[in-house]
């Protein structure tokens, strides 16, 4: 990883000096070694603070909606899953492709500081990544973790190490593209009884504080004005005074990104209350795959997403609800 970061840093400086790009968007070091912040670098000297390691999780594609509309070309480092989001934004005409120079950057999975904390490492002041293990230096001593055990949810269910759009690649250690079952979590809920499902979501959604982090971080949420911010929509509300509002917010959000969600997992990563929001999105992905054929949003920038498409012999809703277990 460190080697990848060094190459990336050098290449960024090169491209800046050559004038190919006038800005670079990447990740900047934080206070504790696990809190990298997305940042735009404009000078070669500034790139000293560039970091790329197991905590460079933030998906930079969303920033490119604004950045690609500014003067000059920007260099963006995109991880494999981030490239799906970018492709999807091209499809929706939200980014100006010509203004972005994409370097696809190798990703070995990103670690989750919350998992590290939950597993008993309190007071983490720095984290070291040794490839296979992650060592958390804490105020109360060092704790070593198997890296696979502390990966972000989105990385545990990684959809592939392939970059689907790029101008050049930085891949030092090519990795196997072993497909993982992304839908185990969804299936587990599907197998519950309706009452259990309701109780599960009621408890999870009751934690929602309506901070909108899931929405604002989501690359598919690119509306200029969100329905929840529009006083004339009739559903705008800043808080959830009633349990219904919690459901409404998350149903509408999940539905609105259905067919466009690339499953980048940022919503679950940023939720301050750890609501498993990815399950909502994956339910839609699973259903669409089952009913309308395999579809991966963002795999290309042309095909029509399933919900703005149809075929004359689509399954009837009644047929599907009949086979869907308990009525």
């Amino acid at each position: 990883m460190q080697k990848v970061a060094e190459i990336a840093q050098k290449r960024a400086i090169q491209l800046l000096n050559q004038g190919v790009v006038n800005r670079v968007i990447g990740w900047k070091k934080g206070e504790f070694g696990y809190d990298e912040t997305p940042a735009v670098f404009t000078t070669a000297a500034g790139i000293e603070d560039f970091r790329y390691d197991v905590f460079s999780a933030p998906n930079l594609s969303k920033y490119l909606i604004d950045e690609s509309k500014k003067e000059g070309k920007i260099l963006a480092f995109l991880k494999p899953c981030d490239t799906y989001s970018f492709n999807q934004l091209i499809k929706e005409h939200r980014v100006n492709r010509d203004n972005v120079y994409i370097i696809g950057i190798e990703c070995g999975g990103m670690a989750d500081i919350n998992t590290i904390r939950n597993r008993g490492a309190a007071g983490v002041t720095d984290v070291a990544d040794n490839g296979q293990t992650v060592i958390a230096h804490t105020l109360y001593g060092d704790v070593t973790f198997d890296k696979n055990e502390v990966l972000l949810e989105k990385c545990q269910a990684c959809k592939g190490k392939k970059h689907v759009i790029f101008d050049e690649l930085i891949v030092v250690n090519p990795q196997d593209d072993e497909p993982k079952n992304r839908f185990a979590g969804v299936e587990a809920i599907e197998n519950m009884t309706p009452e259990e499902r309701f109780a599960f979501w009621r408890e999870q959604l009751s934690k929602c504080i309506r901070c909108n982090a899931c929405r604002n971080v989501c690359p598919a949420c690119s509306c200029l004005q969100c329905v929840f911010d529009n006083p004339r929509s009739g559903v705008a509300s800043k808080a959830s005074p009633d349990t219904f509002e919690e459901q409404l917010y998350h149903i509408i959000r999940a539905f609105h990104v259905a067919g466009r969600c690339t499953d980048c997992g940022e919503c679950s990563r940023v939720c301050p209350q750890d609501i498993p929001l990815h399950l909502l999105n994956r339910k839609f992905i699973k259903d669409m795959n089952a009913f309308y054929g395999e579809y991966k949003a963002g795999e290309d920038s042309e095909t029509r997403p399933p919900l703005v498409n149809f075929s004359k012999d689509d399954a009837e809703p009644s047929v599907i609800s009949d086979k869907g277990g308990d009525k």
């Binding site: 009751s206 604002n216 005074p241 940022e266 990563r269 301050p272 750890d274």
Partner: protein, 344 residues
């Protein structure tokens, strides 16, 4: 100084609950937040910080303030203000306890917020000293002692016991009702407690954010700070969500909204965030159209406007929730450090 065995805490909760509502950090779906205690509640006094701060008990995220009903040609308006019943908040950390002072300075100043006031009057705050401070903590920068919290009753964990020290009349009154459960601490206990506090102080001294230089913010040059070029770079990666505001113990802005029930209107207030586009939206639009302006507003309020209106008290208690929860890891510490750097 009194004490109670850790294993007897459930009895203590039950005894308090008999007389009044008890709020205590409980795990719901894996996350600790203040909740009403009931039989079988998953009380969590180990986690250092609840996700939402204890301010929620006095200033809930949503609160009905009035309702309207149309009857014929008349509209009846009814205030939803009610006198609060007595209640107890247990397990409040030193930082959260300090935040009540800051909220008081806003809500109890003229015009008094009666909704908040009644809850403050009827609430008894039982604080809990921090046993394991974390890297995100910087309460020391604001003169808060995490080992010696304030409140109506201060409590401390050491060894097998929870130590109990009433500090105010309210605290003494509550303690009286619990006499059968509490024992008097011995000299040996006091030694154990002192040792524990020393340990906490030692750890606190090693916290990475222990020393935070706030002198830049004490200087009186509002416009220089306001017009600084640094805000732009600081706010660049802010996605404009309200996570920092909603987990913050001192953020006190709220919005007033109406809900059409179909048979009347419910007017409620709910937490608002200065990070939102529609914050203080007016007929002509928003006064802060860019995220940089909104970002600046939040930190100028905490570090400049609030102190200049309240005798120099910063509107931050260093709980570190924003440090922990920001999706992009931007926070007040970065702001303080960026400004308090070389060119101070």
């Amino acid at each position: 100084m009194l004490k109670i065995k850790k294993s007897n805490l459930d009895k203590l909760y039950a005894a308090i609950s008999e007389r009044q509502i008890l709020y205590v950090p409980c795990n719901v779906a894996g996350k600790p937040n203040f909740a009403v205690w009931g039989e079988g509640a998953d009380v969590d006094l180990v986690s250092l910080k609840t996700v939402k701060s204890a301010k929620e008990v006095f200033f809930p995220q949503c609160e009905d303030i009035a309702s309207f009903r149309k009857e014929g040609k008349n509209i009846s308006v009814k205030s939803e203000h009610k006198e609060s019943g007595d209640f107890v908040v247990f397990g409040v950390r030193a930082c959260d306890c300090k935040s009540f002072d800051i909220l008081d300075s806003v809500f109890l100043a003229d015009p008094v917020d009666t909704f908040y006031k009644t809850k403050r009057e009827h609430g008894t705050v039982i604080t809990l000293a921090c046993s394991k401070p974390e890297e995100t903590c910087f309460c020391s920068a604001f003169g808060i002692d995490n080992a010696e919290p304030e409140g109506d009753i201060a409590t401390y964990f050491a060894g097998e016991y929870l130590y109990w020290s009433p500090k105010t009349e309210k605290g003494l009154n509550l303690t009286k009702t619990l006499n059968s459960l509490l024992q008097t601490a011995t000299d040996k206990d006091n030694d154990a407690l002192e040792k524990e506090q020393k340990k906490i102080k030692e750890i606190t001294g090693r916290l990475p954010l222990y020393v935070l230089d706030l002198s830049y913010w004490e200087a009186d040059d509002l416009l220089e700070k306001f017009n600084s070029e640094k805000w732009k770079a600081l706010s660049e990666s802010c996605i404009g969500c309200g996570a920092c505001t909603f987990v913050c113990p001192t953020c006190q802005c709220y919005d007033v909204r109406d809900f059409d029930k179909g048979h009347g209107v419910q007017r409620y207030r709910c937490w608002d965030s200065c990070m939102y586009k529609d914050f203080t939206m007016m007929a002509h639009g928003t006064p802060r159209p860019t995220q940089m302006q909104r970002f600046r507003q939040r930190f100028m309020h905490k570090l400049v406007y609030h102190p200049s209106n309240h005798e120099g008290v910063f509107s931050c208690v260093g709980c570190g929730r924003c440090v922990e929860k920001c999706p992009m890891h931007i926070n007040i510490v970065k702001v303080i450090k960026t400004f308090g750097g070389d060119d101070k």
